[in-house]
């Protein structure tokens, strides 16, 4: 248990190093630089001023020096300063990261709940109308682009029915205490989390169904039935628990993709997360911000993956640390 945690944490260091080097190179290969974007936006033309800005942004030095300096500052847990936002990188990210984490957690919960329930239902009622309906739903939500789904849900639930707000995370200006605030955030969260979660729920439903059907055929299930257990206990206690492993694998893999998928959902629902920050930063070649988001993002994914590994051991005692 401790060994796996330590090993995972040790793996994070080279991972982050690779993330920095790779993305630093990529963003420097893209034409145009933060310097170009900033000076053109600010209409700076005076050569002395341009030189001064070059020094301020640190782009007067060779690229490898910039990279080495960046790695050195990350090692000291300093993500640098963003001249575009006129604020420290970590400060800007920390203002927006919680929103993304909340959205990811909510979407994952919805994906798991809906996906597993649908998968179990489809496998129990295999080859019936229920099974077909669930399969149809899964294909639909997997194929529908999430931005389209987001807009359609907004039109139906926010504009026509008026059940939920159109976007944002909080009702601006409301201040009625922590409980009311939590309720408020939740009502804003429903649509984006559902739009993001249903895509993943579709995969989970299909995988869960297949995995359940496979476990149903195994001997221990027949034994359980022979013992006279109710079909409910067989399904939930024996089949489902064993069928969950592939879902957990998928979950671990998809946490990273979800961070990427939330960029689109955040745009549609104007959710104040880091998705739009990352997008803007890439567009303006603001590499300290891009790298900051990616470093923290990879940390988040690495921690999630370590948690998933621990979850494996809990679900299947046969898995041991080798």
């Amino acid at each position: 248990m401790r060994r796996i945690v330590i090993r995972r944490l040790a793996q994070i260091i080279p991972l982050i190093f690779a993330v920095i080097v790779l993305n630093f190179v990529l963003i420097h290969l893209a034409p145009g630089s933060l310097f170009d974007v900033m000076t053109s936006e600010q209409q700076v033309t005076d050569p002395a001023m341009l030189d001064q800005l070059r020094r301020t942004y640190g782009v007067d030095q060779p690229t490898w020096v910039q990279l080495a300096k960046y790695i050195w500052s990350v090692m000291r847990l300093d993500l640098g300063f963003s001249y575009r936002q006129n604020a420290p990188v970590l400060h800007v990210i920390m203002e927006q990261l919680p929103a993304t984490v909340i959205l990811m957690l909510a979407a994952t919960t919805i994906a798991l709940l809906v996906g597993i329930t649908a998968g179990v239902l489809a496998s129990v009622k295999v080859n019936t109308i229920w099974d077909n309906l669930i399969s149809f739903g899964a294909v639909f939500f997997f194929a529908a682009p999430s931005f389209w789904l987001g807009i359609m849900m907004t039109v139906l639930f926010a504009v026509k029915l008026g059940w939920f707000p159109v976007g944002g995370m909080r009702t601006i200006g409301s201040d009625h205490g922590a409980f009311a605030d939590a309720l408020d955030v939740m009502s804003h969260l429903v649509l984006p989390a559902t739009a993001l979660g249903l895509f993943y729920a579709a995969t989970y439903a299909r995988v869960m169904r297949a995995s359940m059907l496979e476990v149903f055929r195994l001997d221990f299930v027949r034994t359980a039935r022979a013992k006279g257990l109710s079909s409910g206990r067989v399904v939930l206690g024996h089949v489902m628990r064993n069928a969950l492993l592939p879902i957990v694998t998928l979950l671990g893999l998809q946490l990273g993709t979800m961070l990427g998928g939330s960029v689109v959902i955040e745009a549609v629902f104007s959710w104040p997360g880091i998705g739009s920050l990352l997008f803007d930063s890439v567009m303006s070649r603001n590499f300290p911000m891009v790298l900051g988001v990616l470093v923290l993002g990879s940390l988040l994914v690495a921690v999630c993956n370590a948690t998933v590994d621990l979850l494996y051991m809990r679900l299947d005692p046969r898995i041991r640390v080798r």
Partner: protein
């Protein structure tokens, strides 16, 4: 009101509020009402910082102008009105101007606003940071008494020109006691600016919105009408449409929603579309021909390509009618300097082909020549315009290599590396043509790496001379005549010309009153806007 929603019902739970909603659409009240919260947005994204001293584009301009005021403002009928200045008078020789300031104005932190602030702005902010070449001639600023400032210039400065600078994007008045001794560009206060304006910044939630509260000690008693102003950002135009429909958004400037949605939203009369309020920030889509290429040094080639583009088609199909074919180099909404007496380029494929034949580029081996077309990908319409112009050029047998790079790459290719043959770009010009329009044509507009200037490398002493005369001509009618000379020459030479004049639209709920009243409403303080509900 059949689609009265549950949420709206919950939000307006009192009967009185319900009743007023029904009455609101029936008759327009004449006297402004106090109170309420206005939720606003614009057709772009969140600013990088609430105030970007050197400019930074429309988004920070939108957020900072609610806090920072200017000395003057330009009304919709192009008259200068006093804001922080009561009066600005030129000397006999137009080499100095005396500015009388408004009394009893305070900054948001309670400190008094005085002539020292204007001296500081003129010498430490406007001239070196925001206005650039516009204030090249400014030699000094002096506070005569706490409410009088004299600006001194090297040569004569036309009155309309100076007032345009002071009322324009670069003329924001910032507090000396906060900025003195610091680097204005990187001062952290720029994220929570302090000004003299009608609204104070309460909170900026990054990624979501900025909230402003009414400035209770605003110099104009009774203003602003609103208690609260919220500027929110949606990244997706369709989401902005939905927000209008759900009643969560009151006003959006600069094309907030997809153009095809406008008709649907305005049909019920609850939402209106307004095209006024953009004349001092008039947008165009331009086509420019790189003079560093042998082919485009020939005027006939540039003229031929202008004839090959069907600009009515661009207006009708790509902009859904929210644009007009441009005439000359000056935007048609510019009622002072615009003239129709310029060289025009009606769509004429035969004439284009004949001009190219005459210029020595006949059809041989399948095409006349090959060019690289760069369409700056910052607007969605530029993607379509690039595709259309490519086809239009191919119709006169020119092989076209089209690329539509993203913002940073477009800036670099067009304005830094000059890596294009023909480029499609945009710019917004003020009523005053110097320098926002002229710098695309003059030799001193060629500054490598500085965007939105002369990127074609075109240089014509005759044109430079006209603009130089305009810079110092203080007689208004003579100056207008010079501007028309400039426009005529630019349109004949065609190193770069606007293809279409864009017509941006403001979308607002019908109960939002007194908006779009000035020449650049997005950058107005919005003190007079009120809610009829």
């Amino acid at each position: 009101m059949g689609s009265f929603s549950r949420r709206e019902f919950l939000m307006t739970s009192t009967g009185a509020a319900l009743a007023s909603r029904f009455v609101g659409t029936a008759a327009a009240a004449t006297s402004p009402k106090h109170g309420g919260t206005l939720t606003a947005t614009w057709g772009g994204f969140e600013p990088q910082s609430l105030f970007v001293p050197a400019g930074g584009g429309s988004s920070p301009y939108f957020t900072s102008t609610k806090v920072h005021e200017r000395l003057l403002r330009l009304t919709a009928d192009l008259k200068f009105e006093p804001v922080l200045a009561l009066d600005i008078k030129p000397a006999e020789d137009f080499r100095s101007y005396t500015i009388k300031l408004r009394d009893k104005v305070t900054w948001h932190d309670g400190k008094p606003f005085t002539a020292d602030d204007i001296v500081f702005c003129a010498m430490n902010y406007w001239k070196p940071v925001s206005a650039g070449v516009s204030l090249d001639a400014l030699e000094g600023a002096e506070a005569i008494d706490p409410l009088t400032v004299v600006l001194k210039f090297k040569g004569p400065v036309p009155e309309f020109f100076l007032k345009s600078v002071l009322a324009g994007k670069s003329g924001l008045v910032i507090p000396k006691h906060i900025y003195a001794g610091s680097n204005i560009i990187t001062n952290p206060i720029n994220n929570t600016p302090i000004g003299t304006g009608p609204f104070k910044v309460k909170e900026w939630v990054r990624g979501s919105h900025v909230e402003y509260l009414r400035n209770e000690s605003y110099w104009n008693p009774g203003l602003p009408y609103l208690d609260r102003l919220v500027i929110r950002w949606w990244r997706d135009p369709a989401s902005r449409s939905a927000a209008f429909e759900a009643g969560q958004l009151d006003i959006g400037t600069f094309n907030p929603i997809p153009i095809p949605d406008i008709a649907r939203l305005t049909k019920g009369g609850k939402v209106v579309a307004e095209t006024k309020g953009y004349s001092n920030s008039a947008w165009v889509a331009t086509v420019e021909f790189n003079q560093r290429r042998e082919i485009f040094k020939k005027r006939e080639v540039r003229q031929a390509l202008m004839h090959a583009i069907d600009r009515q088609f661009i207006s009708d199909t790509i902009f859904f009618g929210r644009a007009r074919p441009s005439i000359g180099a000056v935007h048609s909404s510019n009622s002072i300097f615009f003239t129709k007496e310029v060289q025009d380029y009606p769509f004429d494929v035969k004439k284009a082909a004949a001009l190219l034949d005459a210029a020595g580029y006949p059809l041989k081996g399948g095409s006349r020549f090959k060019l690289s077309l760069v369409s700056a990908g910052w607007f969605e319409e530029n993607v379509k315009m690039g595709q259309y112009v490519k086809q239009a050029f191919e119709d006169i047998d020119i092989a076209v290599d089209l690329s539509v790079p993203d913002r940073a790459t477009s800036l670099k290719r067009i304005y830094t590396d000059y890596d294009y043959d023909v480029a499609i770009s945009n710019n917004s010009g003020s009523i005053e043509l110097i320098p926002s329009t002229t710098q695309y044509y003059t030799t001193d507009g060629i500054v490598k790496g500085a965007a939105f200037r002369n990127a074609t490398g075109y240089s014509n002493p005759k044109l430079d001379e006209i603009v130089a005369k305009m810079t110092v001509e203080t007689d208004e009618p003579k100056r207008i005549a010079l501007a028309k000379d400039f426009d005529r020459l630019a349109s004949v030479e065609a190193p770069i010309l606007p293809m279409v004049d864009l017509e941006p639209v403001t979308i607002a709920r019908a109960d939002v009153r007194s908006h779009s009243t000035t020449a650049d409403f997005m950058g107005e303080s919005w003190a007079e806007i009120w809610l009829d509900r």
